[in-house]
């Protein structure tokens, strides 16, 4: 019936399936580079710090749109610079009519933030329409910093607990190192380029964790399967085989995710650009870490080779 209407045609199988890239041969190099990247990121974080957004630093942010279509950044700078509010940053945002004004946290607690904002809005006058206002007081910003950090750490812990439960502790170690690597390197990139780090960045970090662990689990699953299948194969060779076998999936899913993210980055609007950029970077790093960190670590840690009883147990639920 309906099915007859759908033409039968084959998809393109892009990948040469007998490809056996020697990933494991370069594991020392890859892990060395990754450790270097992590150390550099940590160093940057402590030396340069992060360019925290309003969410974490406190203060205010106002997005304005010029009613006549052209925002005069220089004039605004003149007007707002003399208000005595400390650091007031003005930058154009998106199109020529939009500007983003950031006012640093005012001394004097919660009330002072509102007072500072009011001064700016009064000074800007009626030539502009407010499109977005964000004011975060000192109490909330410190809470958001804490919950943000806890959320990332707990996210990693929850994932590790699950991986440990489903696999073996060596896999969990691989996952925790890979995930920490992803988070650290993204934070390092934010520190190096002084990109704004706010609540949406944390949400993106959590999403990256989700994506990266997804990758790691797929590779780990294949490793476990091959451990049962090839009981005598040398471990590094087996790991290499597993990575290669899942490579077509890793690349296809990665390309699809990146295509969607690029579309979101270009067309998704100014407000979530920061988020999408973080995701793009994270997907690439997350894919790298599953191949070059999580799996090779198993080569160092070694892993239980006899999975026969485990295999019997796992065969039952897989029918569900």
């Amino acid at each position: 019936m309906l099915m007859k209407l759908i033409p039968n045609f084959k998809g393109m199988d892009f990948f040469p399936h007998d490809l056996r890239l020697p990933f494991m041969r370069y594991k020392d190099l890859a892990i060395g580079l990754s450790v270097l990247a992590m150390v550099l990121s940590l160093g940057l974080f402590f030396a340069k710090g992060l360019n925290y957004g309003v969410d974490f630093k406190g203060g205010s942010m106002v997005e304005l749109q010029a009613n006549n279509g052209v925002a005069d950044v220089a004039a605004l700078r003149d007007k707002l610079g003399s208000l005595g509010l400390g650091g007031v940053q003005i930058q154009s945002f998106g199109g020529p009519s939009d500007v983003l004004i950031r006012i640093e946290e005012q001394p004097g607690g919660e009330v002072a933030q509102q007072a500072g904002l009011k001064k700016v809005i009064d000074a800007v006058g009626s030539g502009y329409t407010q499109r977005r206002v964000e004011v975060v007081g000192p109490a909330v910003s410190s809470e958001l910093r804490t919950t943000g950090l806890i959320a990332v750490v707990c996210g990693i812990l929850a994932i590790v607990a699950y991986v440990w439960f489903r696999f073996e502790w060596q896999f969990a170690v691989g996952a925790v190192v890979a995930l920490s690597h992803d988070v650290l390197v993204v934070v390092g990139i934010f520190s190096l380029f002084q990109f704004e780090f706010d609540l949406s960045t944390v949400a993106a970090l959590l999403t990256i964790l989700g994506y990266s662990v997804n990758d790691t689990v797929v590779v780990s699953d294949r490793i476990r399967e091959n451990l049962r299948k090839y009981k005598r194969m040398e471990l590094n060779e087996l790991l290499n085989l597993s990575i290669n076998e899942t490579l077509s999936r890793t690349i296809l899913t990665g390309v699809t995710a990146i295509a969607v993210l690029i579309s979101l980055y270009i067309f998704g609007g100014e407000v979530i650009r920061n988020f999408n950029f973080t995701m793009l970077v994270g997907v690439i790093i997350g894919t790298y870490s599953s191949i070059f960190i999580a799996a090779p670590l198993l080569g160092y840690l070694g892993v239980k080779r006899d999975w026969s009883d485990q295999a019997a147990k796992n065969a039952a639920p897989s029918k569900a």
Partner: protein, 539 residues
């Protein structure tokens, strides 16, 4: 695994149909949905303030102020009950959350303790029973002293009731701004969240909730002025109050008001009949009218003070007893400020001052821009996914795309039915859900290809592909689910919205990308010509 019973097929199809039906209203305008017949669901997804525009204000109550007010009340009650019991005391002092009582005669301690313990009130309600007392009354360290201290539970209960009444008051005040779509809820222990869709200019809102608006009427000290009292000593029970703005000056008033703010029944903005200045006309309830009548009768010719938020608005002289229970307040008002003050007074005083600790306002134009940008990006991203999937997997790719469509519809339908709110981060969660769904199909199809390469016949290769890939899919989805749960549990606002859509997306992706796609493939197999080697797997 590829076989579906008739019942199961029908169940899967019905689920898809229900998803489509409940998701549908989101694709039409509100107006056209309203004209649909009644049997079609009409509920639409709530859009978060970041998408539809509006104001989000997080307010904090001042816990210290609540404590202080309570301590002052406690001191007044203690003073009254000691006086009624004719027990002499030499000191009644507030130290933090403790009230120290020093009796004149140490031998009165037993009696005083018994008397002051009558002030203890149990916390709790009729249903759940009492969970403790609000204050503790104990013997002090020295003979003849008594310590009254607030308990932790007592404070909690106070803060809770202050939050509840603040919410009511804030609600009444902002209902005067027009639309009633706003929501006011408690967050955490001492915070209140106002969400006001569609509101862009928050200046008036902030002014309305920025004042406690506690209006009280006080007796002015008959002989001493504030300046005199400062030089000598402030008589017990009296306190110095500042005047407002221009008038300045200070007043020595009895601290306990003649008529408390709660006795105000109504207030309206008006104009003075003589000079046309803006004034507030007010009316007391019965109890207030009686108290005010009695007081003005006894004090003709003397001044009394009208105090707003601990500042003296005016201190007119009583010319004749005011028995009707209504009056007029003049001050340095403008028409705008009388309008606002009348609303504030009518809505009742806030139990404590509210401070804005977080504000996020999105103008409707930005929200609309975000939605249209999201749509454009979604459509282009969607086309990219459809193109890549069909390019890579041919006919089976088409099935995967159908599965993706079902996945999106079901996610939207569940969110609509649950009444959850779609925010900008929520859209990101939706996108990650799509990525997970695509990944599920990629895993299955790559596996089928592998099985085919080992030389398995088509149908068993497909079957094995689904079975083997399912373990991996379940593992990867469950770990992401664990991550989403943590985000939901810990996260505030934006992170939560993300976690909710992601969770729903993961659950529906297992159904849509695995079950629905499997059903499609099993139908496809049935439609193929029978016979050995006739089926060519188009993947």
């Amino acid at each position: 695994m590829l076989h579906f019973t008739r019942l199961k097929t029908i169940a899967v199809l019905l689920t898809c149909l229900a998803g489509l039906l409940f998701a549908m209203p989101n694709f039409f305008t509100k107006e056209s949905v309203a004209t649909w017949p009644n049997f079609i669901p009409k509920q639409r997804l709530n859009l978060g303030l970041d998408l539809q525009g509006g104001a989000h204000l997080l307010l904090a109550m001042d816990q210290d102020e609540i404590k202080k007010d309570w301590m002052v009340n406690l001191r007044d009650s203690a003073r009254r009950s000691l006086r009624d019991a004719k027990i002499g005391y030499s000191a009644l002092g507030i130290q933090g959350t403790q009230l120290q009582v020093r009796l004149t005669k140490p031998e009165d301690q037993e009696a005083a303790l018994k008397d002051l313990r009558k002030l203890i009130q149990p916390i709790g309600n009729a249903i759940l029973g009492s969970s403790g007392n609000d204050i503790e009354v104990t013997e002090g360290s020295e003979p003849g002293t008594i310590t009254m201290s607030l308990t932790e539970q007592g404070l909690k209960a106070r803060v809770a009731s202050a939050a509840a009444s603040s919410i009511e008051t804030v609600n009444r005040r902002i209902n005067n701004l027009g639309t009633s779509e706003s929501t006011v809820v408690r967050q955490g222990t001492d915070r209140i969240l106002i969400q006001f869709p569609g509101l862009q200019d928050t200046a008036e809102l902030k002014k309305l909730i920025g004042e406690t608006a506690k209006l009280t009427f006080h007796e002015v000290h008959p002989s001493l002025t504030a300046e005199d009292a400062k030089l000598t000593a402030i008589p017990p029970g009296y306190k110095i109050y500042p005047g407002t703005g221009d008038e300045g000056g200070e007043y020595l008033l009895r601290e306990t008001p003649v008529v408390p703010g709660e006795d105000l029944a109504d207030s309206q903005p008006g104009f003075d009949s003589r000079d046309g200045q803006p004034v507030i006309n007010f009316r007391f309830n019965q109890a207030g009218a009686r108290k005010f009548g009695a007081f003005t009768k006894e004090n003709v010719g003397r001044p009394f003070a009208i105090v707003l938020d601990d500042k003296v608005l005016s201190a007119p002289v009583i010319r004749e007893p005011i028995l009707g229970g209504s009056g007029q307040i003049s001050g340095n008002f403008t028409v705008e400020s009388t309008n606002r003050l009348a609303v504030q007074l009518r809505s009742g005083a806030l139990p404590t001052k509210l401070t804005i600790v977080e504000e996020r306002t999105v103008g409707p134009s930005l929200g609309a821009d975000s939605i249209s940008a999201g749509k454009t990006a979604g459509v282009i991203g969607g086309i990219a996914v459809v193109f890549l999937t069909i390019l890579a997997y041919g006919t089976f790719g088409i099935f995967a795309v159908v599965g993706l469509f079902v996945h999106l519809m079901l996610t939207l339908a569940i969110m609509t039915v649950m009444g959850s709110t779609l925010t900008l981060p929520g859209i990101a969660g939706l996108v990650l859900g799509v990525a997970m769904a695509v990944d599920a199909n990629v895993l299955i199809y790559e596996r089928i290809r592998e099985e085919l390469r080992t030389g398995k016949p088509p149908i068993s290769a497909i079957d094995a592909g689904f079975q083997r890939a399912f373990i991996t899919i379940a593992d990867s989805q469950l770990t992401t689910l664990a991550c989403a749960m943590i985000m939901f549990w810990l996260g505030s606002g934006p992170i939560r919205g993300f976690a909710v859509t992601l969770t729903i997306g993961i659950i529906t992706s297992i159904f849509a990308s695995v079950t629905v796609v499997r059903l499609l493939i099993s139908q496809w197999i049935k439609a193929q010509p029978k016979g050995r080697g006739a089926i060519k797997v188009p993947v």
